[in-house]
Amino acid sequence: MNTAVPRYITLMRTEWLPKIDSLHCTGCGSCVAACPEKALALLGQKASLVNVAACTYCRTCEAICPTAAIDLPFLICFAPNQDLP
């Protein structure tokens, strides 16, 4: 281990989509109402990404969820020519 921030290897994903924690989702529907692309719906009283292709990763659902049950993982990178001090 060095003094740098540990690498965040938190989620190994094959596709980049909102991750909904069904244990913390209360089924309040805030995200469903807020999603501008209508990608979310309540299934069995839990939020669910029903239209994967429509999701634009806009972060609205993550921001509005009152129980922080929705997570969007991000890659952090430099733009070309920005990676040298």
Partner: protein
Amino acid sequence: MNSAAIQKLLQSHPYYSFLTAAEQKRLLQQSRTLIFQAEETILQEGEEAQFLWWIESGSVKIFKLSADGNEKILHLAGAGESFNDIAVFDGGPNPANVAALTTSQIWALPALLLRSFMLENPRFSQAIIQALAQRVRYFATQIENLTLYGVTARLARFLLQQAEGDSILEAGVTRKAIAAYLATTPESVSRTLRTLQETGAIQFDRHRIIIVNAALLRSIAMI
């Protein structure tokens, strides 16, 4: 992972490689491998530490829980790294909780055997001291960041360090994980990311946070 690949990964560990071939063989003979599913608890704070845990594949979070159940992530570890070293070497209880983030294959190396190697092999002991000293330095940096810099500077530092680190295919970091690491709230992380976006230091591109003006971000980070 085949045994040659496991050996190669073990040799990259900061102090395992200082064991003699005979010690390595003895250690592996007395160890066992376990598979943990995502979110499965591996260790609980306060329990007796019987093993040093070494990750063959997957990743784990090492965290504390506050009285109201909020999780504070202290460290994340991936393949090739070990955890619970402190408790193994000071003989105390597990200092934190550990849970798998992804399906993980993890080796349990007996603490008693490792402690006996420390008495017999000074190079191994020296390598452990060096690794633990690096950890002290790491936590000193963490304390410095928490006490000297505000959330904006800390987040700017975090983004730069993540972008400068080894990139791992398909890896990702969530707002919640950033908040836990920076000792702030997810809402604060969102607000601060928006501020950094408005200053022109970063841009969002679907699942990417792109540093478009590194010089500006470094100045915000006070680096």
